[in-house]
Symmetry: C2
Amino acid sequence: MNQVRLSDHAYAGIVEIINDQDLEVGARLPSEAALAERFGVSRAIVREALVRLASDGITEARRGAGSFVKSRPSQRLAAFMPATELPATLGSYEVRFVLEAEAARLAATRRSALEMAHVEEGMEMLRIALLSSEPAHAEDMELHRRIAEATGNPAFLIAFDALHADVDKIMRAGVDISRSRPPEVIATMLREHQQIVAAIRAQDSEGAALAMRWHLWEGRRRLMP
Amino acid sequence: MNQVRLSDHAYAGIVEIINDQDLEVGARLPSEAALAERFGVSRAIVREALVRLASDGITEARRGAGSFVKSRPSQRLAAFMPATELPATLGSYEVRFVLEAEAARLAATRRSALEMAHVEEGMEMLRIALLSSEPAHAEDMELHRRIAEATGNPAFLIAFDALHADVDKIMRAGVDISRSRPPEVIATMLREHQQIVAAIRAQDSEGAALAMRWHLWEGRRRLMP
DNA sequence: GCGTATAAGCTGTCTAACAGATTTTCGGGA
DNA sequence: TCCCGAAAATCTGTTAGACAGCTTATACGC
């Protein structure tokens, strides 16, 4: 079989550092030499791990300055949920993962000013609904729909609508959507959505896709802990 | 800005080698030392490039033996069509790319024996239809549908059906699906589908996803060169 | 207090080397 | 001739040390 390489440990170790020390986006990682000493390996091994982390969009190396955290969500996604092995849980989330992440990515690339305004408006509606502690499921869906719309590709809306019509049916039968949530959960949900919208606004396609994946991942976890 | 690193050249050079020399899946690449000499860089640089290629699923390193080609399609996909920048063409293909690639991936992971037989049967029907030079659009769709079914997740079927109902509508209006194709195109289409099915049979999730992406990419090109 | 020059730190890259795994080669025996 | 096993060649995984060039921090002079 494929033996474990040292750089695998280094990769996992660096992810662990970012998570445990709660390094935010833009924060600097320890230097390659420091990481090498900490893990008890050579600098070459740390470099290989960093190359893979950069390739995965988690870190970014700046020559002469250091390596920096590029996106928080992806670290945890990479650590707990490699894209190749989605856990078999709520089926619709598996589809939403790929469908809406791609929609966010394309929305970031192609959104017109009008579509952006449409998304921002949806965000504002969701914000108001969440902050007034109403059940904001409809506003949530509406924002997601507007993001799909911002791709400019009607095929996304077709798939989206078909899927969510079904999700609604399941949810109304099973999970209680309209249950009230503690304030910190509301704040988190708000922040997650804001990150997605901000990435689309900034035309950061990779960031938008990651933020969407992260949001859906957390959303699934909130539904089924 | 972000300067170009030598390993970028090495990465591109290795992809070029695989494409130009038409190395098949399983073929061995030149040794790290040989590649280093060819590109005029150190072995460390070649290693970084190989780590990234392996991370991208293109090559695979076997300790003591060498680096081997893991998937041909991805090389070309990586070279011509980075996942982050899908060209804005036929809208439905953008959705099919992510949706069906993920379906193929999950089908490879989870397919039961029954579902696998179902997929094989669909493949056989498509094979017969293609070889008798009939317009095999219906059989093509049926095979894709059975792959989505093999995920065991009904949500994929819901999105799939909604999408393809629409695609059919568009296609019947515009492109002539039933036009006859030259024999070499038929052989290619057959091979593409067989690769997908073979990967699912072998439970090679990454290979299945890549084969599906490759197939859709080529399919789109056949429709709109 | 502020600006600048120097120092320190960091990444990118190279060379040289060795352990351990794998493949190839080669010779001897049936 | 064919097969088997041992030795040799080859290759990856990994380490150490070194240096250029870029970036950030420090300290000094005004």
